[in-house]
Every structure is written in C-alpha cells, then in structure tokens.
Symmetry: C2
Subunit: 335 residues, 2 copies
C-alpha cells in the first residue's frame, strides 16, 4: 500500500493538533509527518504515535518532498505559503476560507460530494465548520429532493475561535466563580453567561462573513446553485460542538418518515430523535466524536410548501474541521 509524506501547516493550533490525533486514530498511511508552525514554535516538539516530532518553521521551502499538506492556518498564512506546497508537487487540503469559493478549487464534504476531489488542481478546500455540520445533517434529505431554502440559526462553540477561544471561556468561568474580573481578548465581549451575535465581519447587507458561508459554500458542496439560505450565527458559551436550528424546504414535499429514514441512512449522521424520551442532539454529547447528530424533526408550521424543522449538533474541531480534512486526504490517497 502506498504511503504518504504528510505535513500539517499550523500544527500547534486547535485544528492542527486534532489533525495529528485523527491521522493516528484512522491509521492514515504515513511515510512521514512534518509539523509546520510559526518561528515561535519551531524547535518545540509534539507527541505522535509515541514519539516526539520536532516542529519546523513554516517557510516556502518547507514543503519539499511532501505528498499531502493539511492546512490549519489562517487565511493570510494559507495564501502566502500553500502555493509553494502546490509548486513542490503536494496536494493541499486547506481548512482556511481563502480558496473555498475559487472555481478551480473543489470544496468537499466526503459524505456529500467525494467525487469533487477528482478535479483538483493542487488545492482542495475544507469547508466552514457550521457549513460542514449543516450539510452533513441535510445531505440525505437533499438526495431525496433538492433543498431549495433554509433558515438557520447557529449556536457556535468557542472552539471555532481556536485554542484561545476555549481558554478564554474557561478562564472567564473560573474568574466569575471566584468573584474575580473577567478578561476579554479573543472575543469582543464576555462570552461566559453571554451570547455574541457576531462571527466574522459584516457585509453591506448586514450579514456576517460566517452567516454567508452556509449559503455560498452550501451551494458549492451540494451542487445547488439556487439554494437560498438566511443564517444567524451566534457564539455561545459551549466548548467545542456547534448546534444549528434549521427550517428548510425541498423541491418535492417530503414526509417525516422519509426524512427520518434518509437521515438514519446518511453517512456521517446519527438520528437522535425521540423527544418524548428526552433524546435529542446536545453539544456535550457530540463532542470528541465524528458524527453529526440530528433530531427534533417536525413539520415547519410556518411553511407554505411542506417545510421541515430540525436541530443538529456536531464537534466543531473534528467533523467541522480536522476529521473532514483527513477524510479528504483519504480520498486523495485513493485517487
């Protein structure tokens, strides 16, 4: 079996570290693993399969000899360095938003559009975390009958802002429990005991960048150019699973039975829909595993077209980022 020289760009962040964990868990066929980060982290080590790997500085020359590069850096770093990885002959799977809407770059959720990896030209983009979780939840429905519109309200974990977001929530909770003042660095306002209805900057129409991703990336992943989505993205004091309340309409009106069967059969999904017995998706239950839980499935009472409402939760760092990227790497390895 072929083995691959893999590098992780941004190995010290929340997503980079999780990528290491998932490469190990899924026993990805590695010939070697290179960890790349900023000069600040170079020389430090991170454990992998019982050994310590020395972190190297991420430079244009660092990608020589790499077959696959997993990008877990911010947009600016991604755009500066990843083209060098492509030139060095690597296939790049990038978690930043820099290339997601580039028509030359496939945007892939392996459970939904695995075939799109085939037309890559060096870069494959990993979608936004909320988008991955939502399209994984509705992918089975979309196969039955195309989703035409969605109204989505998100409840997004602090892990979406990286390790700093998680540390900040924990530190604020500890401070408040001890009666000490709260420090805000990662988020613009206190997130402990609060909600912040802003993730990313706002466009002229009043939508945040995060809110537009579900429509724009959703269209590309689902091959549904006329999908319309209104989204409200809200940061909540939850550690690492995103939740989304979705109302959607499909081309053909679907029965609740069809929908439940489709979700139960959809790869990457777990149907958790027995409210009478208090069984529904919750972010604590979906953390640190890969499935998107879907439940609270019912008819949308405000819809003229037989719409349905549902509630889904998934781990932001894993399925929302690192796991999805490693799954794409597995598709690349099988090309």
């Amino acid at each position: 079996m072929k083995k691959f020289n893999v590098a992780i760009l941004g190995a010290t962040g929340a997503v980079g570290r999780e990528m290491m964990k998932i490469l190990e868990e899924r026993d990805f066929p590695l010939a070697s693993l290179k960890l790349l980060a900023s000069a600040r982290s170079a020389g430090k080590t991170l454990p992998f399969k019982g050994e310590e790997i020395v972190i190297e500085e991420a430079t244009p020359a660092a990608f020589e000899g790499c077959d696959i590069v997993l990008g877990a850096a911010e947009n600016d770093v991604a755009m500066e360095l990843l083209p060098h990885a492509v030139k060095a002959g690597a296939v790049v799977i990038d978690n930043s938003s820099a290339y997601r809407l580039d028509p030359d770059v496939p945007l892939v959720v392996p459970e939904i559009n695995p075939e799109d990896v085939k037309w890559h030209k060096g870069i494959i983009a990993n979608p936004n975390c909320t988008t991955i979780i939502t399209v994984t939840a509705v992918g089975g429905i979309h196969k039955l009958s195309p989703v035409k519109k969605m109204v989505a309200s998100s409840y997004q974990a602090v892990s979406g802002a990286g390790v700093g977001g998680m540390r900040e929530l924990e530190a604020q909770m500890k401070a408040l429990s001890a009666g000490e003042p709260v420090v805000c660095e990662t988020f613009p306002y206190q997130i402990a005991y609060n909600l912040i209805p802003q993730i990313g900057g706002f466009n002229a129409e009043g939508y945040s960048s995060e809110e537009m991703k579900l429509q724009n990336e959703g269209r590309k992943i689902l091959h549904a150019d006329d999908l319309r989505v209104t989204c409200t993205c809200v940061r909540v004091p939850v550690m690492r699973s995103h939740s989304v309340s979705v109302s959607l309409e499909t081309e053909r009106e679907l029965s609740l039975e069809e929908i439940r069967e489709a979700i139960a059969a959809a790869p990457g999904c777990k149907l958790v829909d027995d409210p009478a017995n208090k069984q529904y998706p919750m972010p604590l239950d979906t953390s640190d595993q890969d499935l998107v839980y879907v439940g609270r499935i019912r008819k949308d009472l405000a819809s003229d077209n037989g719409g349905i409402a549902l509630w889904c939760c998934g781990d932001q760092i894993r399925k929302g980022a690192a796991t999805n990227a490693v799954q794409i790497a597995e598709l690349v390895a099988a090309l």
Copy 2:
C-alpha cells in the same frame, strides 16, 4: 389617588421577588402588600421598602380584602387558588400558563394590546416570557403591516426555570471550575457548557409546549388569528435574559428603513443595530432592565416575500414576567 391592596401569590420565587422589587421601583400605589407562599415559607419575612413583611400561607381565604393579586405560582397552584381571589373580588394578573388561552381571559402586553384589559372578568393573563420579548420586538413592525409568519429560534436563560435553574447553572460552573462532579436537578441534563433543545413537554407533532406558545399566545396578543410560527426553543447557559433569532414576513413588504424606524419608536424597545461598530443586542446587556433590545436587522435572503431577519434580547424575569405583570396592574389601577 386611589391605593390598592395587593397580594403576590408565590412571593418567594424568582418572579415573585422581582415583582416586589418592581412594585417598589415603579412606586405602585399600594395601600398594603401581602406576600403569599407555601406553608414551608409562612412566617419567614422578605424586605420591602425598608420593612420586613411576614410571608403568609397561601390559602383560599388569604385573598380577602385584596384588590389586585399578582400570580407568580405554577399552573396547579394558580388553578387551585386564584378562583378564590376572583370570588373575593380581586382582579388577578396571573403569570402561569393556566388561563392564557381561555377566551374569557385577556392576555396582555401593555405596549401591544393594553385595551384588552378592559374586558377582563376577574383574571388577566401575563404571557409566556419568550412570547412577551418577541412580540414586544415585532409589535412596531406588526402595526406597519401585519406579521404573517415567523421562524424563531430561542436562546433561553436558566431563570426561565426559576431560582432553582439559576442556582443549578452557577453550582455546575463552580463544580466544573473546581474539577468536581456536576449535579442535575432542575434540568434533565448538564446545562453548563451545554444546550438543551427542550423546554416543556412535547406534543404529537414534536413541538414542545414552550415552542407552541409563541404562535398561540402571539395570535391572541397581536390579534392575528392567522399568524403562523415555527419555533425551536433551546435552553442556554445564560443567567436571566432570553434571546430570539427571528425571520418574519409581513402582509406588505417593508423596507429596512421603515422597520428600523418602527422599532426605534416602539414602546418597550431599544434599537441596537450598528453591527459594523459591534453594536447588537446581547443578553448580558439586557439583564436587570426592562427594554427589549432589537438589532441585526436585515433582509431574509431565503424569503420570497420580502421577509426580514432580526435578533432580540430581553430580561426574562423582568419584562418577560414581573415587569409586564406590574405594567398590567398599572392598567388595572387606571381602569
């Protein structure tokens, strides 16, 4: 000026205590204040205007001589005792859900339908907290052109489950910060760092009782029998302000300018809508005051009928319960 003999049924709960505070703050014309609670609390005292009032046991005979009774008890206690208050000649303003949909009982948000207090037959119902906050937010829009449908996702504070809910969240946070095990009594699952998509029991269609209130009570308050609402109600680890993400359609298509002007002019509302400068409603900002903050106003991208999306927050204990009840008492006092 006429003064009133007022009693609070359920004075020791979160809403009952807040009613005392608000009667004092708003200088309600009191001849006397009687505090009624279960036998367990009888004999204890609570402070009011610098004096200690002795709590009396809530019995059928306890309402003799009362002009106005503010009900802050659960449904079963309300239904058992409040008819005796009516028989004793008092006007009852009840915060339980027992009488809200009774056609003989007005359901009132003073900023929206103050005229409905006039036809009371002894009982006036105080609406559900999420409903009060949402209809206060959209009341100005509804006057411009009737709201036809809403898709709402709520982010509900633990105060909605009373003092016990607030204590449980705080205790769980302290336990987790100290590395100790979490105790769940009020909520079915851990609420710290979690979300619970259940408030109340579920009907055959899969909606929780809380979720149906926004449609059923909203219709009655807004005098809009054909209003259709799909709601998803979620408990979040926030102390005492509810937030709601709303997409709505009106009979006539409205411009964003009309909508912003209507909200800015609507009684009980504060327009907080400057996202570019990070100004939007947040539950920490709306706690311990009476206004419903409304912002994130924008066109609903998934609507065929010029719908709009907005985000609103309000204090659950005050405007969502105690303040609204005292405002109704002020309308009764002026009859």
